[in-house]
Symmetry: C2
Subunit: 336 residues, 2 copies
């Protein structure tokens, strides 16, 4: 079994498996070349051949334990009638943010999931191109994080409009989260059918809510999504969510991915029976190989001995030098 | 003694004192009128008469327990030779960010603190205009948060450049933090001499660091600053800093202000002997009076019985309706 899948199932491994959030991305020169060739970010995502190519690039270069399919969490909202624009540098943008309950009711998922076949096709290409020991990872956005983008219409720092909508219309907001959970369950199902051997649900903005509000308003929809994909290991990523780990304990997922603000030992203690993934600050990879080696060694020292996947605590930054990634990986593979 | 000062010193009070971060600000129509009159945000800050006026406005309207002087944490960097521009809507901007150790060494504090006399003068006007039971609060930015603005040159979401600078040049970065601590100590000393009866140190971006890094790199400079203002109660605000409260326990401050992601009971338990301030999510004040009353009551239920100051967990949002603030205050004053 691929090392990554063993660790996610808390089975013995020879060393911690490792992959890197946003490992297919702008820090790689070969990615930038393919991106250029594709024309735009969305065209790159929507071309199965090119999406597969950039998914494979970091595996060729670094020999990672997992290949996460190249895509964006907002693309599977198109089948619901929501079309984000992606501007270079400016991030995603929605001309008409969905900031009131009536706009949420207009979201209409297709009766049978359709409209993201390009992701499934890319996944198939990736699976057939990789050796067995590299696991293919599918992913989607968590209902809360997707709702943040829908309501704000863009990346936000405080998600105040989203939280205002939640507090003003809690029942309708929870219905929105449930609708997003059902759509993402269908989308992940399609990815699993196409070859995804594990899935990660990105709740990147989980950390903006208190634990009480996250438990009350968000966890039910997250559970609904996770319960619908029982056949592969499920990783839940919570950005800034150190205070949320006790709330995640009852969820049907095999692993929780935390960031540098949540010590790995604290995560493991509050999530009995689950694997832990993370958690180096991506900003460390902007420093020097010496500083990276020492921070990565400290991360491994704090990691649980069973059920651990090495990763960053957030996506790798575009300015990261490739040799700094090598330093990070060398320590995990025990070569320094 | 003013109710606020009693609570900060963990002495008995008839009810929790309350003030609101950014209480003098854009959500108030009378503030917007004075701001218009002043011309620009910086001119408003630099006019003792107008700064005192907007400081007093929320006290007149709401009868709060504390009046925090109207200013900006970046203004006292001007005496060090750093001049931020403030653009409407775009936030602060520094033409030449200080992103390398050589630029940090060029920071030169005045031999005797000078250049912020307008703040001292405004504080004096405020103190002489207020009844005794309203405490006047001075403030400054914490060394880490100020360093974030210096290195990024603007508000950042991830502070990656600042952290990269810290990890690449830890000794030089700590020297920068010490220099900022000394400058802010002089600045707070000036405010105390002018009438500030309590001070708040804003470490708004504390939450971007792990507890280990915060303890190692940031706490020494924060301690240096706090130790220099021993005569009035000191409040340390840590934005997103729920994971940092154990690290703050040894600091010489009377109170720690936390946000909604750090339950008040957890804060109190990890900070023995200190008062706790906070922590309602300002986004709650965008909802409805009913939702606000219930969330505020829940906040009070979770608050310690001794040494508690009611507040938001972050600055009040400009879009907040005034009647929603009334609902928040009514619950704290026991009128609902």
């Amino acid at each position: 079994m691929p090392r990554l899948l063993s660790a996610l199932r808390r089975q013995p491994v020879d060393r911690p498996p490792v992959w890197i959030m946003r490992q297919a991305g702008r820090f790689l020169p070969e990615y930038r070349a393919t991106r250029e060739q594709a024309g735009s970010f969305v065209e790159l995502c929507r071309s199965p051949r090119l999406a597969a190519e950039v998914t494979l690039q970091p595996i060729r270069r670094f020999g990672l334990d997992g290949a996460i399919i190249f895509s964006d969490i907002l693309l599977p909202l198109a089948p619901l009638g929501v079309h984000f624009e992606f501007t270079d540098g400016g991030g995603p943008h929605l001309a008409q943010p969905l900031d009131d309950p009536r706009s949420w009711q207009r979201l209409s998922p297709p009766p049978a999931w359709a409209g993201t076949e390009f992701v499934a096709e890319a996944l198939g290409l990736v699976r057939s191109s990789l050796p067995e020991e590299v696991a293919v990872i599918g992913f989607c956005g968590a209902p809360w994080t997707l709702a943040c983008y829908l309501v704000e219409g863009r990346t936000s720092r405080d998600h105040a409009a989203t939280k205002a909508a939640l507090y003003a219309h809690p029942a309708e907001f929870r219905a929105l989260l449930d609708a997003l959970a059902d759509a993402m369950a269908a989308y992940l199902g399609q990815q699993v059918a196409a070859g995804a051997q594990a899935v990660q649900v990105f709740d990147s903005w989980a950390g903006t809510l208190s634990a009480a509000d996250y438990r009350r308003h968000v966890v039910p929809a997250l559970a609904r999504l996770l319960n619908a994909v029982p056949t592969v290991p499920r990783i839940v990523y919570v950005g800034g969510g150190g205070h949320l780990t006790p709330v995640l304990a009852p969820l049907a997922c095999e692993a929780v991915s935390v960031d540098w603000r949540c010590p790995l030992a604290v995560a493991a203690a509050s999530l009995p029976g689950k694997a832990i993934q993370g958690n180096l600050d991506p900003a460390v990879l902007l420093s020097s190989p010496g500083a990276i080696r020492s921070a990565t060694a400290a991360m491994l020292d704090a990691a649980p001995t069973v059920g651990y996947v090495a990763n960053l605590g957030h996506g790798i930054l575009p300015a990261t030098p490739v040799e700094n990634v090598e330093a990070f990986l060398d320590v995990i593979r025990g070569r320094t």
